[in-house]
Amino acid sequence: MAKLTRNDVLKLAKLAYLDLSSEEVEQFREELGEILDYVAQLQAVDIGTLEPTSQVTGLTNVTRLDEIIDYGVNRDDLLKNVPYIEAGQIKVKRVLA
């Protein structure tokens, strides 16, 4: 199961929006294979009817009142790292080439 092909790696890179060099493809093909071999030891575990754990606090549906709270952070602070802004909006490159 853990043997990956170059095509597998390229497919994953595409899903993850990464453009890998051909050296990176080869490097990750080998390394991911080794890591997946290591984690494959879980396949042999008797899991019976146990349920999966996704969080450990036991908290559920943490809600608060739907009201505006002033945290002392303004819109300009939050937008100051945006590379392109026009009229207070985040500007992105064209979607269709």
């Binding site: 199961m1 790696v9 994953l12 890179a13 899903l15 993850a16 929006y17 990464l18 453009d19 890998l20 990176e24 990750f28 390394e31 991911l32 080794e34 890591i35 997946l36 290591y38 984690v39 030891q41 879980l42 396949q43 575990v45 899991i47 146990l50 349920e51 999966p52 754990t53 996704s54 969080q55 450990v56 606090t57 908290l59 943490v62 608060r64 709270i69 945290y71 002392g72 952070v73 602070d77 939050l78 100051k80 790292n81 945006v82 590379p83 392109y84 985040i90 992105v92 490159k93 064209r94 979607v95 269709l96 080439a97």
Partner: protein, 475 residues
Amino acid sequence: MSQWESISAIAKKVQSSVFRAQSLVEQSLRTIEVRSDYRAIIATTDKRARERAAEIDSRITHGERVGRLAGVPFIAKDNFLAFGANTTAASNMLKNFDTPYQASAIERLEAEGAICVAKANLDAFAHGSSTENSDFFTTLNPHDKTRVPGGSSGGSAAAVILDMVPFALGTDTGGSIRLPAAFCGAVGYKPTYGLVSRSGVVAMSSSTDVIGPLTRNVDDAALVLDVIAGRDPLDSTTIERDPESYVHDKLLNIQNKEIGVIKEYMEDGLDSGVKEQIQNSVAKLKKAGAKINEVSLPSLPLALAVYYIICPAEVSSNLSRYDGQRFGYNYKAAKDLDESYIKSRSIGFGTEAKRRIMIGTHVLTSGYYDAYYKRAQIVRTKLINEMNSVFKKVDFLLGPTAPTTAFKIGANIADPLKMYLTDIMTVGANLTGVPAISLPVGSSQGLPVGLQLMAPQRHDRQLLQMAKTTEEVLA
């Protein structure tokens, strides 16, 4: 001998005008400068630190309240948002990220008068065990410059041991506070999952990320925790804190306590020098009257495999927000939006971030999801059940923090799996959410050894009292 007294002693002297906050900040900044060759620090927040110190001194002159940590300088790992410098997470992706607001933990420390003086180095995005994955530089171990300080909070641990500050903040996702604490000879505290707000901290693996202090002694760690612990409306995963203080005046009566030595951590692969120090510590605790038995958690050796599925899965999800459009590195020459996303991510992320994104994407892919991710979550349940049942028999668990002492720079960097194995004794606490602490217990061939103690979830107070008692017994 440290130039710093205990945190509570420093704060008391500032409150009573024996010390000036401004002198403490200067002392800290001077030490950072003198010890810059260890590369523990990414940037100082000197301007803001000096302003805050002047303000605290002036408030004292006017007889105003200045807080329990008045004038105490500290360093935050550079994945905490703190004013006064960019927040980089030691990554090229966030190299120019201009801090827009502060982490809740920083806010709470500042409200009690503590002063952030610098941001510490880490493995980029906290992915690593040595700081060698920092996109900027590797921090050197304070005891041996040819060795790593551990990671990912390596800069924070080194900063404390290099005497730059009385305490530093770190984050611990799979051992990132405890491992560098062990490698550098500091106390490193990983609280119960959810006890400290993560608002304003760069997310790594959301089901295991916690925040905690690195200090020189247990009392200091307890005091810092006491200030930062508790519910925060900005982090819905936070839990209620203990109504009582995490700082203890009294030692624990260990005659009534059962301590379980984790069998699986004392077996093959444990360095003989580390084993000797752990056994010495156990012998001393026994002599002091503690009831010590070997206990087994049969699934614990699987924890690392579980972790290296769950963590990359959550990393790949958390790092999907770095698309170059709202913050972080942006590739200027892109022709369209897709190219902008892809190039921004491919240039902005370093090798380890890409590696984890790739693993995480793979284990979450339909077709592999059940075999990897879901199975890992189920084995996680098995591990939690074993942890719960062992804590019915013992009050605390004990073992080493890491299988070895600090390794040489470069020794593991070419072999990611070998690097991941460094976390083998720390990830168990993260997956189960229990609190854990690493205490310095002597050395092996001149390098510090860390002893790890764990307690059931939400037993942070009890664990800190046990740790304080252990510190005393071993002194």
